[in-house]
């Protein structure tokens, strides 16, 4: 199942919305770079999108609280997620 990586803010890009439209059961969502700004929206409350991960360093660098439903990960876990999923789909437009 796919790992979707979103790297743009939902406030400036449709990357997250496009990703969620393609999200299937068994997929996972990872927020990196400005994609972590989705943590401040309602996305992380949606039960249809699970599991949700975020790069902890990118969220901390932007001063964002990480909700309980979102798992904060480091770079090693990022690599591990990429081994557990296939394909890896990057959303950055």
């Amino acid at each position: 199942m796919s790992l979707h990586i979103v790297s743009k803010s939902p406030f400036s890009s449709t990357a997250l919305a496009d990703c969620l439209a393609a999200f299937s059961e068994g997929d996972a969502l990872l927020l990196i770079e400005d994609g972590v700004y989705a943590l401040s929206g309602r996305m992380s409350e949606s039960p249809a999108v699970r599991p949700v991960y975020c790069l902890e360093s990118d969220a901390r660098a932007r001063g964002l609280e990480i909700p309980g439903a979102v798992e904060a990960i480091d770079d090693a876990r990022w690599v591990a997620l990429c081994t557990e999923h296939n394909p890896i789909v990057s959303w950055f437009k």
Binding site: S7, S13, D75, W78, A80, T83, P87, I88, S90, F92
Partner: protein, 130 residues
């Protein structure tokens, strides 16, 4: 597991090129293999030897070169995208009659087929863009 990376973004224009480097380091640290890094579109600027970022900012080029030297990485810059943007090897500069070459040591120019080959040869392709 065998990884390849595709980098579509220029250094210092967004966080993306730095994320690619960070992911490359992490996967190598975890004991995985990095088959190829393919620099495409604006990502070809990562292979310019003329980049001179301020000393208090990350030196992505130097970091890629250090990683390349340590692990023997295959750092491939798309030749067609590079020609358009002025990233030229010595031989391309001569052939195209341009006054200078700037492809950084440790990088090589090749065609888009090398990206298709990387997909075919690797267990995972991870793309960095935007």
């Amino acid at each position: 597991m065998k990884f390849s990376l595709a980098v579509y973004s220029a250094p210092h224009s967004s966080q993306s090129a730095a994320s690619a480097l960070r992911f490359a380091r992490a996967l190598l640290a975890e004991g995985h293999e990095l088959h190829r890094v393919f620099f495409y579109c604006d990502g070809v600027h990562n292979g310019s030897a003329l980049a001179a970022p301020p000393q208090d900012e990350p030196d992505l080029l130097g970091a890629w070169q250090a990683l390349q030297a340590e692990h023997g990485l295959d750092l491939v810059v798309c030749i067609a995208a590079a020609q358009r943007r002025g990233v030229l090897s010595e031989s391309e500069a001569r052939r195209l009659e341009r006054p200078a070459a700037n492809l950084a040591e440790g990088f090589e120019l090749a065609g888009l087929g090398q990206l298709a080959d990387a997909v075919a040869q690797s267990d995972r392709l991870v793309t960095f863009g935007g």
